[in-house]
């Protein structure tokens, strides 16, 4: 086993062990733990292990390791700590709670993601504590029509059984299921109708997660339907069916598309890295002299590329490394290099001449390279 796998394995085991301890402690030594839900618990423990394993492997890749470290460093950098904290709240609200950047990619697309995300968050917040015995309900002594919720065994709010609040609490999972199904339908519609989605999508990567979420939600609603309107018809069978879909979903969490739930928060670290880079020393392209990103970014990239085995070092000490050239100059150099191959060749034959004439030179002005002002697209590209 490689050093990386061993480290990831230990992280996975430790995280799973902590979760198991929380299950035992949170349910007061399993006093409130529902033994029927043991399969769910083991599925969660497996998922926790595998997610921690994969996350740890991912964090050990050179670029991820570097940005993980830098993300924290720049967040806590003294000059930026206060504004960073303010922006942290704005970003968590805008990007995570509201999914603004996904809405900008497409309204329906944003809506689909937003519905699925919030439906799942609500459902997880309810089911996980319930099945681990972290939350349980007891009737209030002396008031048998009242119920009290206990969190980690501590009493919290009490509410009348037959009330609007009671209805909302008992059916919160049903509402979550409806929201998820609506989102899944929108996502399915896009996957079936959009040509760009159709060209790249794969069953395991793109359809399976939607199918799993749909199956979990529908079988969950069937349970409510069975006991509410059908006198518990096929209740046991639906319970098992629901358990199978949920457990499959849990086991799938670490592998497929669902893993983005755990990767995506890295976006926050990167945004702070960019913010700080904008305020610090710039890297100037060593060909056109335009500032194109932060010096920190270029130096970090050079380091990462070396760790990955790339060697873009240049012989000329003034240039030093290819990373010091802006993307636009790179494109220009490629074209000029290809043009140079064709110098003096016409119709596939080299032009033979006794004395080469001087090449035409521009008399228009500035001798150095000038692209003119940056276009809008490049200006946005060239942020740190």
């Amino acid at each position: 086993m490689s050093k990386e796998s061993l480290k990831a394995m230990l992280w996975g085991l430790a995280t799973a062990a902590v979760t198991a301890l929380l299950v035992v402690a949170g349910s007061r030594n399993l006093a409130y733990f529902d033994a029927e839900l043991i399969a769910y618990t083991f599925a969660v423990l497996f998922a926790v292990f595998a997610i921690a394993y994969r996350y740890s492997m991912w964090l050990q890749r050179p670029p991820t390791a570097l940005y993980w470290k830098r993300g924290w460093q720049v967040f806590f950098r003294r000059r930026f700590f206060l504004p960073n904290t303010g922006r942290w709240f704005l970003r968590v609200a805008g990007d995570f709670a509201l999914n603004r950047f996904i809405f900008r990619r497409g309204r329906l697309r944003g809506l689909a993601h937003w519905l699925i995300m919030w439906g799942c968050i609500v459902a997880v917040l309810i089911t996980v504590p319930l099945s681990f015995g972290w939350i349980h309900f007891e009737s209030v002594p002396g008031h048998l029509r009242d119920y009290r919720a206990y969190l980690f065994g501590f009493p919290t709010l009490a509410f009348p059984l037959h009330s609007g609040l009671g209805f909302l609490i008992y059916h919160a999972l049903d509402f979550a299921a409806v929201v998820v199904i609506a989102g899944v339908m929108l996502a399915m519609r896009r996957r079936m109708r959009d040509h760009d989605a159709a060209s790249l999508q794969m069953f395991g990567e793109d359809f399976l997660p939607l199918v799993i979420l749909f199956a979990i939600s529908v079988t969950g609603l069937m349970l409510t339907g069975s006991y509410t309107w059908m006198k518990g018809y096929a209740y046991d069978f639906i319970t098992i069916l629901h358990a199978i879909t949920v457990i499959f979903g849990l086991l799938w969490l670490p592998f497929g598309k669902f893993f983005h739930i755990f990767q995506r928060p890295a976006q926050l670290g990167v945004s702070f890295y960019k913010d700080v880079g904008k305020h610090e020393e710039k890297a100037h392209c060593r060909r056109c002299d335009h500032a194109f990103t932060s010096r920190m970014k270029v130096e970090d990239l050079i380091k990462v590329e070396r760790e990955l085995g790339y060697n873009y070092t240049m012989a000329d000490p003034a240039s030093d490394h290819y990373q010091w050239f802006c993307p636009r100059c790179r494109r220009a150099m490629l074209i000029l290099a290809q043009s140079a191959l064709w110098g003096g060749i016409r119709g596939g034959q080299p032009i033979v001449t006794a004395a080469l004439p001087t090449l035409p030179q521009s008399a228009l002005g500035i001798p150095h390279i000038d692209f003119g002002p940056l276009g809008k697209e490049d200006e946005e590209n060239f942020h740190p």
């Binding site: 991820t64 790339y310 873009y312 012989a315 802006c326 290809q338 140079a340 191959l341």
Partner: protein, 177 residues
């Protein structure tokens, strides 16, 4: 997603398109901290996976050809993916389909050999000490033979055109007689 570049606007009208070269070992994908850039089995380096891309700009700055673009408001990198929706069903990429001068060409080696008998496709590029091989090729003269394109050697080259007007002004035009 192609770039159309003026090389040195005040001095030259030369423009050139730059598409993704689809590297065999794509630097953009390797420096991606989010594992968002994947290479298909047929060698196409795809644009960033939308759920994963965290808009860090690493690919934009690390690509030796300067190809990826960052759509900042979408928090998403975009680049040429060889029009995978078209090429995966046997059509040509849009850019090559509509290019009137065939500066961009998509086809087999036999076809290009027939169309450009004096050129050979080259897919090795040198950037300082780093060699990169690609799926997309650029055309180089057949003689003298060229093994690779040394990109960084053009660091100080200027877009002043080639010797197209060579001797035209000095020698009277005879119309081939």
């Amino acid at each position: 997603m192609i770039h159309l570049e003026y090389l040195d606007r005040p001095h030259s009208v030369q423009t050139a398109p730059v598409v993704c070269m689809h590297c065999d070992s794509p630097t953009c994908a390797e420096v991606c901290p989010a594992d968002a850039i994947k290479r298909t089995a047929d060698g196409v380096v795809q644009a960033a996976r939308k759920p994963r891309c965290i808009a860090c700009n690493n690919c934009v700055l690390a690509c030796p050809f300067g190809v990826p673009k960052m759509a900042t408001d979408l928090e998403l990198m975009m680049k040429c993916d060889m029009c995978y929706d078209r090429t995966s069903v046997g059509k040509k990429p849009m850019c090559a389909t509509v290019c009137p001068s065939q500066a961009l060409f998509y086809g087999t080696e036999d076809e290009i050999e027939r169309l450009r008998p004096n050129s050979v496709p080259v897919n090795r590029f040198q950037f300082g000490d780093q060699t990169i091989t690609t799926q997309v090729r650029v055309m180089a003269p057949k003689t003298p033979a060229v093994e690779y394109v040394d990109v960084t050697s053009s660091l100080n080259a200027q877009a002043i055109g080639q010797d197209i007007f060579f001797n035209i002004l000095e020698e009277p035009f005879t119309g081939g007689k």
